[in-house]
Subunit: 432 residues, 2 copies
Amino acid sequence: MDTPNKSVPRVVIIGGGFGGIQLAKHLKNAPVKVMMLDRHNYHTFQPLLYQVAMGAIPADSIGFPIRRIFTKQDNFRFFLTDVKKINPESNTVSTDIGDISYDYLVVATGSNTNFFGNKEIEHFAMPMKNIPEALNLRSLILQNLEKALVTKTYNEREALMTFVVVGGGPTGVELSGALAEMRQLILVKDYHGLKKQHMKVYLVEGKDRLLAAMTPKASQKAKEFLAKGEVTIYNNVHVQSYDGYELKIDDGKVIHTRNVFWAAGVKGELIDGIPEDTITRGSRILTDEISRVNGYENVFAIGDVAAMITSDMPNGLPGVAPAAMQQGQHLAKNIVHMIKGEPTVPFKYLDKGSLATIGRNKAVADLGIFHFQGFFAWLLWGFVHILTLAGFSNKLSVFLTWFLNYFNRNSDNRLVVRYFNTETMMTEPVAK
Amino acid sequence: MDTPNKSVPRVVIIGGGFGGIQLAKHLKNAPVKVMMLDRHNYHTFQPLLYQVAMGAIPADSIGFPIRRIFTKQDNFRFFLTDVKKINPESNTVSTDIGDISYDYLVVATGSNTNFFGNKEIEHFAMPMKNIPEALNLRSLILQNLEKALVTKTYNEREALMTFVVVGGGPTGVELSGALAEMRQLILVKDYHGLKKQHMKVYLVEGKDRLLAAMTPKASQKAKEFLAKGEVTIYNNVHVQSYDGYELKIDDGKVIHTRNVFWAAGVKGELIDGIPEDTITRGSRILTDEISRVNGYENVFAIGDVAAMITSDMPNGLPGVAPAAMQQGQHLAKNIVHMIKGEPTVPFKYLDKGSLATIGRNKAVADLGIFHFQGFFAWLLWGFVHILTLAGFSNKLSVFLTWFLNYFNRNSDNRLVVRYFNTETMMTEPVAK
């Protein structure tokens, strides 16, 4: 495995996210061998993680086996492994299954939750960047509702039924909207003994508006939709501390809660061996406009872990799936150009717009010059997400689940498959 | 919660399996309060656990939230809890959420894997009686195939690709058949580098035929189907030991394997407080013909944990879903009779027959005087299982998944959501 056939260049891709998958797919007919390394054997459709957390859709429906995506691609190989280090001086990567050499290396490791160095918050607040974490969230929400039913004191029950979402970007808005919808539609039906007015949902955002990457009109509408669903929104404030019981905000407010969901920031998922001087704000790797890591000939970075900072884009690209996918597709073409000795073509981002949903029949959309909110934005949101899901079976599964949930005003996937221990803040391991 | 309203008797059901669910449903219009206690918040459709283990269907599709089953049943309450002890002298059960009193108590705790006291086998062999265990199996199978791809020695690869199923009942036959089918259809397509002839599937059974509860013709056909799929079948032998590497059989054979799946026996899932003298072979509770535990007035046991031994049925009922369901339905009627002071009616088991599938287009069926094997038995098997699944969404999900898998000759749910550690023989806990 460690000596590539010199006649056919080997492209090693670290990460099977949106960028890595598109890159590998677009190298299908290229004169290369493609090797993908990932610590999961599946691709995750991250935009719907919050629905898995809410028990609205099955966990399996947003994961798709990477091998299965490439069943028919002969020049593709996959290895399930953790990459420990990249060694650009020897053109190899060190992994737990040995060293692997490359002709072209693409770092497409994505991003992870950013707790901005606060260890206490990191311990007690729940992140949601992959399927196991979303299932942990699901377990915590459902376990705490079950506990609320049998708890002795008013204060304890209040804390168990208080949900605080930190971060007012798309994930925070969608998650808090879904919690409000659960309170409205499901709580009173399936949890006899719990009252709607006892369940509280908060959304805490540091900026002066929600969905700061969208238009002010979209922000305003999202706020209205959430307020209508009785989500309490705090803008212009930051979380100071959370010890598992009390969440302190920098304006002096204290919220008693056992459920804090952290959607307040991401950082690039770096690997050892990437030189310090190529790393910029948010732990992202600086690249030029063909995704090449500054200072290297054959090392590239795409997607959330990359910072392609150009004069047009002083902050780099937004950390969204379409940007990663476009970079992957574009880099595939440039790798072929490089192999053939042809000039490379600079990347141009095509911003197709932004969407965020707030729950049943409600979403906001900014599409170029079109800005709209409400039912049609919501339909479009659903349509776009189903189209982007990997695999026909997942498209069908999510579509039908949504269809049934919509008409049942309930959901069937609220299973606590593994218990979440609120002392250790870990799932309980299941023996054998 | 501890003082029932004396005017309305309280029926406490321990366990939300096939028996408990049917009992609670059939008490919908009875003059009782129904309280169900379970350590999971969902009902598990155990007959399809092996398909979850194989990554053929989503885990969520065979679990259904217990609360959701009873959304419209006003006299039903559910509590997520572990029952520690039953106290018949005080008509209470001790749980981790406090003591609960009852007027009628029904033990419907089902069965668990029986390792017949062999601690080493219990540690290293994989059971499959609930969803977390099936997901562990899935992780192990997929992780070991991934390891086989990068392993250095022939012996190591052989052990990683050798699968031994112990127990030739329906579960063992279905699981080994599914493994053979995976080798035939999926291995060469999705695991470039692994060869079909390197993957071995064994089925080890103590009796002289498979499916001993079915007709000799069904046993014979099942054996033929499995042999055609190149499953190596050992009859009349027992596993002596398994240390994680070597499986020793009592005829002297040794199989080098990292994958041993234990489907060789079950035992009743007992609770403290059930008197020793009511417990019989297989840790089951002796009951009379109205499911009443010997020596008690108001304590009952149904399903796999019960041994209703009568002159007609000297071994009790078979440990299958239809028997538990019928007992649950029947007991509901008798509880109403008892409340009204009417005479109770003895239980009569209606044996609807047995089915087992061996994989694509192959199954065996014994239905009263009708015995048939092959394609129609397979269609019937699928039909019966989909009809019995709880919830329309699960019926639809399993039906469509099977439909797609059948035509794709592949499956899309082979996700390792939590890693299985072959040192500790536990899943890796996922922090936050």
